[in-house]
Amino acid sequence: MAEREKVRRPKEAERPDVDEDTAALRAEADDRKLDELLDEIDQVLEENSEEFVKNYIQKGGE
């Protein structure tokens, strides 16, 4: 049983460290992409969230 306790994480050592500046730049670019996406989604979102969620009832299945 002891063997099971030592579940390893084989990939950790193999991965190179991500350069911090690169990571920051990537995060910034992703934030910008996300902002644009949210603006786009605002246009198609169901108008009355509360009503929409309240009426979404699915009984029976499988």
């Binding site: 049983m1 002891a2 099971r4 306790e5 579940v7 390893r8 994480r9 084989p10 990939k11 950790e12 991965r15 992409k33 996300l34 902002d35 644009e36 996406l37 949210l38 786009e40 989604i41 198609v44 979102l45 169901e46 969230s49 509360e50 929409f52 969620v53 309240k54 009426n55 979404y56 009832i57 699915q58 009984k59 029976g60 299945g61 499988e62």
Partner: protein
């Protein structure tokens, strides 16, 4: 020796008509099936061949018959080999038998577009201002769950006890890459803002026959839909409906490899969990992916660590047994990439896994609009992620901006709406729907029944899932003009 893992998906969709004061989901689902404008035949589904009450552990259940005999009237077989029908109060797309996980993912995606076209056609028939919407999700957020099942062909020789013993931990821990994400908790599970899966809260037993209450992690339904002396067909009910193509591919591919390795005795350890039912929701509620689960016999491991174990065993298995199988190799690579990124930072996986993509979106709204997890807007976003209407689907907005990776083009998916897989018996079924729609009167996964104008109906059994493929019957189908010619060519009278 493992049998080839013929596989498929069976997905129930959430359905709504709005605005409507007297919405009846069963009626709406029937209307949807009947409105589907693609190539299909409305048939009698041969229920006498089905046995949902048969238990793989070896006992039968009395009175476990057809829950909704009227549903037999609302049943279509499609030219892609799939079944489109009403299951209780939901429309269901049961995809055709597929040869591998890549094909399985493609036909699962085709199901979404089939549902979209059917819903659009139904909306045309509704009162002005009303719209039918369908959602490829698994929960209404109010304690009602509906299924996204998978099925895999197994050898009858595989002891079902081994499946139970080995698959339980695999099913619980694979949730980290099968989840579609959900706002909140249900079914009495502890409160949480967001969790990895739609379904985990609903699993209450380790093993069982049920699918609608006290859902089990390993479902024992024994319907081989083929020669019962040779095959089993594992019915997997612990999974979410996915939108991400990569995710559907990995879910089907990793599970198929796992089951093949199990049949070949290539899994060294069942990795038993101390309490699989508790581990099921705990793994789903853990967005850090770092909380340990207790192992039977002592010690702990995270779901991610256990998945690494399975990955490593199956990588070896593929290298030894399936080195020439490109799809199997691709499954292993995809799996490794996803586990690595889950380990580093789950946000890196937002381009491949629904739950992570949804979480990124929801956290974006929380930050921008200062929302709390209880805000109905987040629940609305959660539901709308799964809308099958490409204009409304938030998943589609992400793919359109290149923020979720794809495996297929829209053209490939569109083709799969009409044409069947070519390497399984779905080819024979689907082609018969296209070629002889007027003569096909009944169908099931393992047979077709034709009316050729004679005194007796002609039944064509299809007990081998890998026969009836294009290689074996393509030329024969091309050579006949009608169903009577087909029956004659097959040697029937």
């Amino acid at each position: 020796m493992a049998v080839h893992k013929v596989l498929g998906t069976e997905t129930e969709y959430g359905i709504s008509v709005r605005p409507s004061r007297d919405f009846n989901p069963a009626l709406a689902s029937a209307q949807l099936v009947n409105s589907y404008p693609g190539r299909r035949v409305r048939v009698q589904w041969s229920y006498e061949e089905e046995s949902p009450g048969r238990d793989a552990r070896g006992f039968g259940h009395e009175g476990y018959g057809v829950a909704d005999p009227e549903g037999a009237l609302v049943n279509a077989v499609l030219s892609n080999g799939a079944r489109l029908y009403v299951d209780h109060a939901h429309p269901e797309y049961s995809g055709p038998e597929c040869f591998d996980a890549l094909e399985g993912a493609l036909y699962d995606k085709a199901g979404e577009m089939i549902m979209f076209r059917a819903a659009a056609a139904t909306t045309e028939l509704l009162q002005t201002g009303q719209r039918m919407s369908l959602y490829k999700n698994n929960s209404d957020g109010k304690g009602n769950s509906y299924g996204a099942h998978e099925n895999y062909l197994l050898s009858r020789e595989t002891p079902f006890g081994d499946v139970i013993r080995f698959a339980t931990t695999f099913f619980v821990t694979r949730q980290i890459f099968t989840g579609a994400g959900k706002v909140g908790a249900e079914n009495g599970r502890p409160e949480t803002g967001f969790q990895i899966t739609q379904r985990a809260d609903f699993f209450e037993e380790e093993v069982g026959l049920e699918t609608t209450l006290k859902r089990p992690i390993v479902n024992t339904r024994d319907e081989p839909h083929g020669d019962p002396s040779k095959y089993r067909r594992l019915h997997v009910i612990i999974g979410d409906a996915n939108l991400s193509e990569v995710q559907i591919f990995l879910k089907l591919g990793a599970t198929a490899l796992f089951l093949a390795a199990l049949e070949d005795g290539a899994l060294p350890d069942p990795l038993d969990l101390a309490d699989p039912v508790e581990a099921c929701w705990r793994a789903s509620h853990d967005l850090t992916l770092r909380r340990p689960l207790e192992l039977d016999g002592g010690g702990t491991a995270t779901a991610l660590e256990l998945q690494w174990r399975y990955h490593d065993w199956l990588k070896k298995y593929v290298e030894g047994e399936l080195a020439d199988d490109e799809v199997a190799v691709r499954v292993i690579d995809t799996w490794e990439g996803i586990l690595s990124d889950l380990e580093t930072d789950p946000r890196r996986i937002a381009d491949r896994l629904d739950w992570a993509a949804k979480l990124r979106l929801l956290e974006g709204y929380i930050e921008r609009d200062g929302l709390s997890w209880a805000d109905p807007k987040l629940k609305a976003l959660d539901i709308q992620y799964h809308d099958v209407d490409p204009g409304r689907s938030l998943y589609r907005h992400l793919t359109a901006r290149g923020q979720i990776r794809r495996l297929f083009t829209d053209d490939e998916i569109q083709r799969a709406e009409t044409f069947p897989p070519e390497r399984t018996r779905a080819y024979f079924r689907g082609t018969c729907v296209s070629r002889f729609p007027g003569s096909l009167v009944a169908a099931n996964w393992d047979s077709l029944v034709f009316d050729t104008g004679e005194s007796h109906l002609k039944r064509v059994p299809m007990m081998e899932p890998l026969r009836g493929d294009r290689l074996r019957v393509g030329a024969l189908l091309d050579s006949v003009d009608d169903a009577a010619g087909l029956i004659a060519a097959l040697g029937g009278h």
